[in-house]
């Protein structure tokens, strides 16, 4: 048990070191600055995927995260451009707004299970795109562009984050912010899943009727989970908008929702860190296959199908099946 804990700590330390020290060093040495954008995207997409993973954890297939990323992005963009709020304030607001929407939508749709819930969430992504196209405040297909970079964030005169427009290297800054958010998100998820909350989610996933007979308020728990999930979607979306300084109704669409879901499948539905690994693999896999031109999608999909057949429990199942053996 104790060696297990120590191993865990070493793993976390190595991870943090690679993310915050080794990767920036390697990028500086190789001059591949474009990797920052890629890795920042991975970090943000994995946050949104973490939300989807949590809904999987209560037994719901969520193909609606694109909708919340889009909504979160627009909330931040509108608050920054129209209300002149600091981006750092709009970030949590975007998340909270998404959580609020999730509560409203979740009340009716979370009664659905299996493929029915999946279909409704899929439709949700499309509905939100059409809504953004139609609303006056979102500026239709032209979207919202030239969004200013995030300003400084200071608390009690102490500058926590400098003004991004003053920075020589805002790519690096975005990378750090995205990684910090990702680390916070996954640390929180880990804690959540390993607390009683996680146990109750598992009880829901396995048998909702039995869960309610032992006194679990299943409707409430489902809503809370969906709200957390959508909160993470909104945060991811809002950060993306800050980086690209623009948002359009097509910024997040059905294919993104599907990718968020695939990230979870690929990484492993049983492991908290599954969505992170899944996002990294999928994103890089897709880019690496770019050379193949028109065969990219074909090879990519075949590889995915192959991986899911060989590793139905996700990439992390390789590591953990061994570890479990050692533990017992």
């Amino acid at each position: 048990m104790n060696t297990f804990k120590i191993n865990q700590l070493i793993g976390v330390a190595i991870f943090l070191f690679s993310v915050f020290v080794a990767v920036p060093y390697a990028i500086a040495a190789s001059g591949r600055w474009d990797f920052y954008y890629t890795l920042t995207s991975v970090a943000l997409l994995s946050i949104a995927s973490a939300g989807v993973w949590l809904t999987f954890y209560i037994g719901r297939i969520n193909i609606g995260q694109g909708a919340f990323a889009l909504i979160g992005g627009y909330v931040s963009a509108i608050l920054v451009t129209k209300a002149g709020l600091s981006f750092w304030l709009t970030l949590p607001l975007a998340g909270l707004f998404c959580a609020f929407i999730a509560v409203l939508i979740g009340l009716p749709i979370l009664r659905l299970r299996g493929v029915y819930f999946a279909m409704v969430t899929l439709v949700l992504t499309e509905v939100s795109r059409l809504t953004m196209l139609a609303l006056p405040i979102t500026n239709g297909a032209k979207g919202i562009v030239s969004i200013p970079l995030p300003g400084a964030l200071s608390i009690f005169g102490l500058t926590l984050i400098p003004d991004f427009s003053m920075l020589k290297n805002d790519k690096l800054a975005f990378y750090y912010v995205a990684c910090v958010l990702m680390v916070i998100c996954f640390a929180g998820m880990y804690r959540l899943v390993n607390s009683r909350f996680g146990h109750l989610c598992r009880s829901l996933q396995q048998n909702e009727e039995l869960a309610s007979s032992i006194g679990v308020n299943i409707a409430y728990l489902r809503i809370v989970v969906f709200a957390i999930s959508s909160f993470l979607g909104g945060i991811g979306g809002a950060m993306f908008v800050a980086i690209s300084q623009s948002i359009y109704p097509s910024s997040f669409q059905v294919s993104d929702s599907i990718n968020f879901m695939l990230n979870c499948f690929l990484g492993g539905l049983g492991y908290v860190f599954g969505p992170m690994l899944g996002t990294l693999t999928l994103y890089f896999g897709w880019s690496l296959l770019f050379e193949l031109g028109k065969y990219q999608l074909l090879i990519y999909s075949s590889l995915l199908i192959f991986l899911m057949l060989v590793l139905p429990n996700g990439l992390l199942s390789i590591r953990f099946s061994k570890m479990k053996g050692v533990q017992k």
Binding site: S195, H199, R202, Q206, S213
Partner: protein, 259 residues
């Protein structure tokens, strides 16, 4: 004194089909009361209405004088009326021990946020749950399979685990739906012993059962349903000699009755 549980004129209709018609009976504290009747007589439906898994078409159920019908299942469970399922239901991919830990949800003192931040109350809960789970498993003789994944357990153990889950909620009344189904004679007698033990620990037991020898052995009183209606109520002896009951069972030509 008021009876612990009162079923009052309960009727359930599924479209044109009447699963329960005007059923009334009382359950006294710390007794074992069995509801028997041929297949399709409406026993499971009655249990589901008592625990608010189904709403009643008309009629009410009272627990300690409080109405508990047509609420939510988790609220009824909170009051201490807990049901196990006819189809063995457990949390399949958890271990036996984890099943019983999760089932102690209602005993939690800390809030969910408290668990997230690991407050003192939460840490105490976690420790207590693990201990209580061990006690319950030992009580039911399941301590050998503490760390087995539930989906790997044989039928007999699954039923017992179902009872363990029920007990973990700290119920006042435990409703067991066919706890002996699919068991051979020895397993049945073992489980009969467990149910007695549960009652002797102070829990009132309401059970639906098919196995007549078990029912006769275990029950303080019996309620008989036929086509959704209560046709008799009384001690095992009274029921065995009840004309209506004999007629109903002979009519259904159910050879497992053994009366």
């Amino acid at each position: 004194m008021n009876p612990l549980l009162q079923v009052k004129n309960v009727t359930k209709k599924f479209g044109g089909l009447t699963a329960n018609r005007d059923v009334s009976f009382d359950v006294e504290e710390k007794e074992i009361l069995s509801v028997i009747g041929p297949n399709g007589a409406g026993k499971s439906t009655l249990f589901k209405m008592i625990t608010s898994f189904l709403s009643t078409t008309s009629g009410e159920v009272f627990f300690k004088g409080e109405k508990i019908s047509n609420l939510s299942p988790h609220l009824v469970a909170r009051k201490g009326v807990v049901r196990t399922f006819q189809e063995t239901t457990i949390f399949k991919s958890m271990t036996t021990h984890e099943n019983v830990i999760v089932a102690q949800h209602l005993r939690a003192k800390a809030t969910l946020a408290g668990y997230f931040f690991g407050t003192k109350a939460a840490r105490e809960d976690v420790k207590k749950f693990s201990g209580t789970a061990d006690e319950i498993l030992e009580f039911l003789g399941l301590d050998d399979i503490r760390d087995e994944i539930a989906s790997n357990l044989p039928q007999g153990h699954l039923r017992a685990l179902g009872i363990a889950i029920g007990l973990a909620t700290n119920p006042t009344i435990l409703l067991l739906d066919e706890p002996f189904a699919g068991m051979n004679h020895d397993e049945t007698m073992h489980t009969v012993g467990l149910v007695r033990k549960v009652r002797d620990s102070g829990v009132t037991v309401l059970l639906v059962e098919h196995d007549m020898s078990a029912v006769m052995a275990i029950s303080d009183r019996i309620v008989v349903l036929n086509f959704g209606e209560k046709i008799a109520e009384g001690t095992p002896k009274e029921i065995q000699n009840n004309e209506k009951v004999i007629e109903a069972y002979l009519g259904s030509e159910d050879i497992t009755i053994g009366i």
